[in-house]
Symmetry: C2
Subunit: 388 residues, 2 copies
């Protein structure tokens, strides 16, 4: 077999940086564990598989033969029963910090050649998010703290991935929820991170407070009820020192909103995605000791979240339309649009972009994602095909 190489990667030096042999490095490349990014970012290498205890989505940066490693988003595990989960996971500390889990998409931001670059969860450079990062974040933070990576949520309606109007954000904004050291992935303690954000004027996710372990479950329950009423998503419960692993918990309304989206495009949604949201409702209902009336309300909400969007998609296809999702993009630099279109194409997305309109010094573009699988399956049913 011919030797597969990645243009531009110095295998010897990369191996030495990662503390492995050159042969092991070669194997990692041949198995496409590590793959280069596109265009101007070919010196960024994405982990497409987990290896060497480095998670998927981590990014190796090679700049003039100097390396750094940007760790991926750590998977935050979920509490099904708040009380037991808090007692069991944080039983060795006295207080936990509770921060908001916002509903948007995750990006990591780093400085490269004087410009901010936004890396998605999978480790791609997103041109749209990168332009936003440059407009929203003070670059001096990254010059002053070259060893830190900023982890945050891109939130708001002008959003190519998770458009949401629930936070009163006009277009798109960035909220920091984590900062980690390059190369080690070690996180900053909660208050150190929050102070740094303050200092540089970064927006950050809301801190609901610090609570004693004994009262935390009750406090979080109250917070979650409030978050649910507002249509927000949930919380992440953290060891203030960020030594113990954080845990997440979400409002019923957020689970149902996930289901609404999943069932609209029912044939492209993961069965596990749907199942896990259903299971959360069962556990929350028991832990909250609901009355029969509250329980029936929860059942109706669950049922409607599942059936209503699906029904709408079936009717849409019956009436000759396709199932689609609509997004709005807003950029200052027209080049960003071209780059983003190419990026979507490279990811194999079936997307239609409108002609850009100039609105308030920005280019406004509508993006339509066609849900081919759901459209085709639904049409096949109307044509009398059998399910399986």
């Amino acid at each position: 077999m011919e030797k597969y190489t990645i243009t531009g990667l110095n295998i010897e030096k990369a191996a030495s940086f990662l503390g492995i042999s050159a042969q092991k490095m070669q194997e990692i490349i041949e198995r496409r564990v590590l793959v280069p990014n596109w265009n101007e970012y070919q010196y960024l290498f994405r982990f497409e598989h987990k290896a060497l205890n480095i998670d998927i989505g981590s990014v190796l940066v090679q700049k003039d033969d100097v390396f750094s490693l940007i760790f991926g988003f750590p998977k935050i595990k979920r509490a099904m029963l708040l009380g037991p989960a808090i007692r069991s996971n944080f039983g060795t500390i006295s207080k936990v910090a509770v921060e908001e889990k916002m509903n948007g998409y995750n990006v990591r931001v780093i400085l490269l050649e004087g410009k901010l670059v936004a890396l998605t969860r999978s480790g791609h450079v997103c041109p749209y998010s990168s332009e936003k990062a440059n407009n929203l974040l003070d670059t001096s933070f990254f010059i002053d703290n070259p060893q830190l990576v900023v982890y945050g949520e891109m939130v708001g309606p002008d959003n190519p991935y998770v458009p949401r109007k629930i936070y009163g954000i006009d277009s798109l904004d960035f909220f920091v929820f984590d900062m980690r050291h390059k190369d080690t992935g070690l996180p900053l303690p909660v208050y150190e991170r929050r102070e740094l954000c303050e200092k540089y004027g970064f927006k950050q996710v809301r801190l609901f407070g610090e609570f004693h372990i004994q009262e935390a479950a009750d406090m979080v329950t109250n917070i979650i009820r409030d978050i649910g009423r507002k249509g927000h998503e949930g919380v992440v419960i953290k060891d203030p020192e960020m030594v113990l692993q954080p845990i997440k918990y979400t409002a019923s309304q957020s689970n149902c909103s996930d289901l609404q989206h999943a069932m609209k495009v029912y044939n492209e949604s993961g069965r596990d995605f749907i199942f896990s949201r259903i299971v959360r409702e069962g556990f929350q209902s028991v832990e909250w000791e609901e009355s029969e009336e509250e329980f029936r309300k929860r059942c109706l909400q669950l049922g409607e979240s599942i059936l209503r969007p699906m029904k709408e998609s079936i009717i849409k296809v019956r009436d000759g339309e396709r199932v689609t999702e609509e997004f709005t993009l807003r950029v200052k630099d027209r080049i960003t649009l071209l780059k983003f279109e190419e990026y979507m194409r490279r990811l194999g997305m079936d997307i239609i972009f409108s002609e850009p309109k100039i609105v308030d010094d920005e280019y406004l573009v509508y993006m339509t994602k066609i849900n081919k699988s759901t459209s085709d399956k639904t049409l096949a049913m109307w044509e009398g095909q059998l399910w399986s």
Copy 2:
């Protein structure tokens, strides 16, 4: 690699019977496509994989070097939208026959050495079902029609697989829904089969009637609404000549009842099982052009079918119990119980049997199946473990 053989199978003759080379036959055995049954039925060989266009669950019988092939249960595809499915699948004939689809478990019955033997869907010999077949069916049918296999549903409360009280059956009864020729798997036309059942006094699934293609969807819709009210399952729509493939359609109440059972043991249930039942509700709701009030009722029913049984299981485990399923068995011959216990053990089931009681000349036994996966997962949540 050492040559793997099946004791007792005459490879040359089996190959010749199936119309393949001895080498091909050997490969089929080495790959464990064909595996022998246990104990006294070691001359029955089960297809554990599909091969040679023979479905999983088909059974090769070798008796004194004479072979026969018992075809598996043909998979019946499901209509999501009744009108389009009937028009598209039966457009080349003028009438369809509509029979009831009952809620029990499928067995095929054949005569072997003077006794009836019941084969399950997977091709195992079920000792319990075999005793029932001998008590319920007139053996002379099988002597008069040695080339026919009887396909039917075992239905009723004294049932080790699908206990249901919905048909007013005291213990367990057998309803024929299909007859097929050995070796070819070709089915008998609907009326020929029904006449044979009449003649030999076999119970059979209900025939709702024969309907013109143009009216069939409306008629089936009415039948399904009625079936749903009674808590029965659904229908199978058939070409009376059994040339075109049959299609099935079920009542919403049956989908919900499936969901109730699946969510009680949520951690052992297939995600696809749950998903497909949800999807049926969406399509039925659209095709039936429900009012907003009817739709909300359907949503509530769906939500309750999902959450209520799950909630009960979570509470049960919180209170120190395990999630189990209870079954009742009733046999005339005590040996059947011993054989059935061994059969369950061989299949790897985690089951507890009560001491048999004598009731009305029969042995009554309670069987408890422990749902270890759901019990363990639920307990882990109460102990504060995280979901994933």
